[in-house]
Symmetry: C2
Subunit: 207 residues, 2 copies
């Protein structure tokens, strides 16, 4: 029996190169959750086969900036000259439907969400060590040495922000990390702040 | 990889008749935890085969009262003229060994622990409905009607105290409830407040 019928907003974040995407994919393949993605908004042009409202909401730069100014973006970032972000209405709609909305975003975006959504769950994916992260950033790249140094510096800054999260999960093994995240989602649903209303109703407790 | 190597104190509680003991037994039979009991202290006489320090620490009434007065009992209760309680040293020793110490205790005892152990995890086992609890209390008993009425009144008071707990888990099915508790234990280990120290060490973050 579920005392918490509302949805959750789960923010999965961590430094570049930590393997957030791989953990997220493993998580979605597992059973025992009601996780959904929220469709992001972008100003980049749709690629062949991409459908508006499925891969992304494709909007103009002016429309995107209007959304930012009207408080309609939960978080956003600019990358290679294009905006990418999460529309607030989309997330709220899914949460109200009882869905577990997962955002896999950069540390900077997560901090933006934290200011707006008090009830969201913030999970920081950590590397097993700083060397492991560096090696991953180096191995990844067709990048020049300069760009790798930049990314390592950025990662260094990002790993210092873990303290702002509710949970820290080490990505030592993808399956293990995904398992822990599932446990966190189950536990969060049982939190008294999320269950007490339905509990009082169920047990006919007068306030 | 475990960032939290310390133990946990998990307090499992709930109204009389809710099936705390059954959930606790199911939990101990499951895998994926490091749960241990803490040996309680009592003033009742040992029964045949009971060993001091195994089933209970058997002490005199004076010794028990001394322990209470010296702040050495984490919680205690008097039942049918005998004291029963949890020695604080025992619990601290197990936590320092990295164990997950489970206390299955009455609501009153749990509130005593709450005052002393800020870091403990409080899980309230709830019945699926008040009628289900009443039926269980009635079925259970060789008790007189009077005593059943007393227990129902007590249970009614106890179910109102769920708000003081961190989590509420409905005992609709024992396996389901035990599963949720395991998820809570895993999630609690990943909490930033328990992991940040080791995390900073691991990633060589200077404070």
């Amino acid at each position: 029996m579920k005392l918490d019928e509302k949805g959750l907003l789960i923010v999965l974040s961590g430094p570049s190169g930590v393997g957030k995407g791989t953990v997220r994919e493993a998580l979605f393949k597992m059973e025992g959750h009601d996780l959904v993605y929220s469709v992001s908004m972008t100003t980049r042009s749709p690629r062949d086969g991409e459908v508006n409202g499925r891969e992304y909401y494709f909007v103009t730069r002016d429309e995107f900036i209007d959304n930012i100014n009207n408080g309609k973006m939960l978080e956003y970032t600019e990358f290679c000259g294009n905006f990418y972000g999460t529309p607030l209405d989309e997330v709220n709609k899914l949460i109200n439907e009882g869905k577990e909305v997962l955002l896999e975003i950069e540390v900077n975006g997560a901090m933006q969400v934290k200011e707006k959504m008090k009830d969201a769950i913030f999970i920081f994916i950590a590397p097993p060590s700083f060397d492991a992260l560096k090696n991953r950033l180096i191995r990844r790249g067709t990048e020049t040495n300069k760009s790798i140094d930049d990314r390592i510096l950025k990662a260094e800054r990002e790993i210092g922000l873990a303290i702002n999260y509710d949970y820290i999960v080490v990505n030592d093994e993808v399956k293990n990390a995904a398992d822990k995240i599932l446990a966190i989602i189950r536990a969060e649903h049982a939190k008294t702040k999320r269950t007490i209303e339905k509990y009082n109703e169920l047990l006919e407790i007068k306030k």
